[in-house]
Symmetry: C2
Subunit: 228 residues, 2 copies
DNA sequence: ATTAATATTTAGATAGGACTAAAACTGAAA
DNA sequence: TTTCAGTTTTAGTCCTATCTAAATATTAAT
């Protein structure tokens, strides 16, 4: 029989990770998420995913129809957002309090997010002064799962003379983050588009009103800006 | 074949917990630790312990002779002390930064201590300003496993008019800690023995030079004092 | 030195999470 | 509408960590 999710469902660490992956894959696109997609995201084999989907389906955090992919349920979305909330709060802690660089925090936060203690998260949130965004500029859901969306635009889509603040990157791989750093850009930097080169679409950017740098269209496409 | 512990042994969470339990049971007394003792400490069944002892023996963190209990090896002691170090650092964090009460921190620290990231612990240690003792007064091993021992005496063994500071409790169960709190005593309190009752060995204690309270011999036996 | 009581280990199960190999399903091309 | 490539599921195996029940070893008492 299906799990009676009267109160709150308890998920194992592995289940939480799968659910988070499914949630992320669900973002943008009403289509169901495929077994193969989940396997790729989780770096496991499709066979393992099938097993897990059955389990998550029984717990009613996803809707599972064999061969047709899955949809996350409201209950599942709520749980996924809680995990994301914890992950991002810990990232803020690591960067702001322990002086981690923002390309070093992901793996550790991946572990910390599974600590089970509502009180801990409540206190951590207060200690960090209720941050609304993590160091990568991603929004932190509140305890009810609500997120403050921030209107963002890819840097390569901005026009000459427009200004804003770098708030996130699409590809947050360590390699890309390091590249950004090396160029002299970073999350939080205030920027202005000085020029867009016709030839290859590359951009000339002014950072913090003092440093200018050039970046390719592709790099700029990975950078998200809050316009101002 | 035995695990070649060339570099550093990696233990699972369960193994770390068993090793920590064995380390604590080893303290005081050269005698080997029995399977039953470990089972009681870990709240598992002796059969489960036998299995785990075999595994820990293969990893050479304990010396295991069937039917004769175990002794922790130097390598095992080092690993246990690392776990204890992490546990106690997290306890300091929870109390000093997140305003947890000192009887609320154990369970959460029990989870946090298994996060794998040497950098995290290094940074946390620095952030907390390299504390030498946790909120219960227990010493925090340094990264090499060295501990600053603090000479402590049980409160019931002190004489009338002697003074000191409460630095630890033997039984740190939530129940006992709450009882202590309710009486008006706490870790860090400066105390003076005002009287020892012949009849039942109970004590009259002056706390922080203003509040007097009575406690049974048993309660006093659970309280450790740094004499001054 | 036996026997009885206690402690410990082995054997066999269960449950979570992962894998490989094989079977079954879907959907699109011929 | 049949075939087939790609996707997904099932079946069977492995590993960790736990349990119960049964077997065996140790220790203490007679």
């Amino acid at each position: 029989m299906p799990q009676s999710n009267k109160k709150s469902m308890t998920l194992t660490t592995a289940e939480e990770n799968y659910l988070k992956a499914i949630y992320h894959l669900s973002e943008g696109g009403k289509k169901g998420v495929s077994t193969n997609d989940v396997a790729a995201e989780m770096k496991t084999k499709p066979a393992s995913v099938s097993d897990m989907l059955r389990k998550l389906g029984e717990k009613e955090v996803i809707e599972y129809r064999k061969y047709y992919g899955v949809h996350i349920t409201d209950e599942g979305k709520k749980l996924a957002l809680q995990t994301i909330r914890k992950h991002r709060l810990w990232e803020v802690f690591l960067v702001e309090k322990l002086n981690f660089a923002w390309d070093e925090v992901h793996e550790v936060a991946e572990e910390l997010e599974h600590i089970q203690s509502p009180l801990l998260i409540q206190r951590l949130d207060a200690y960090l002064n209720y941050p609304k965004f993590d160091p990568h500029g991603d929004p932190i859901p509140d305890e009810f799962g609500d997120v403050k969306a921030r209107p963002r635009v890819a840097l390569n889509e901005m026009e000459v003379d427009q200004t804003g603040q770098i708030v996130a990157v699409k590809d947050s791989s360590a390699a890309f983050l390091r590249h950004l750093d090396k160029m002299g850009a970073y999350i939080g930097a205030r920027i202005k588009v000085l020029d867009k080169v016709e030839f290859d679409g590359s951009l000339e950017i002014l950072v913090d009103q003092k440093k200018t740098l050039f970046m390719s269209k592709d790099v700029a496409g990975n950078i998200l800006v809050l316009q101002s």
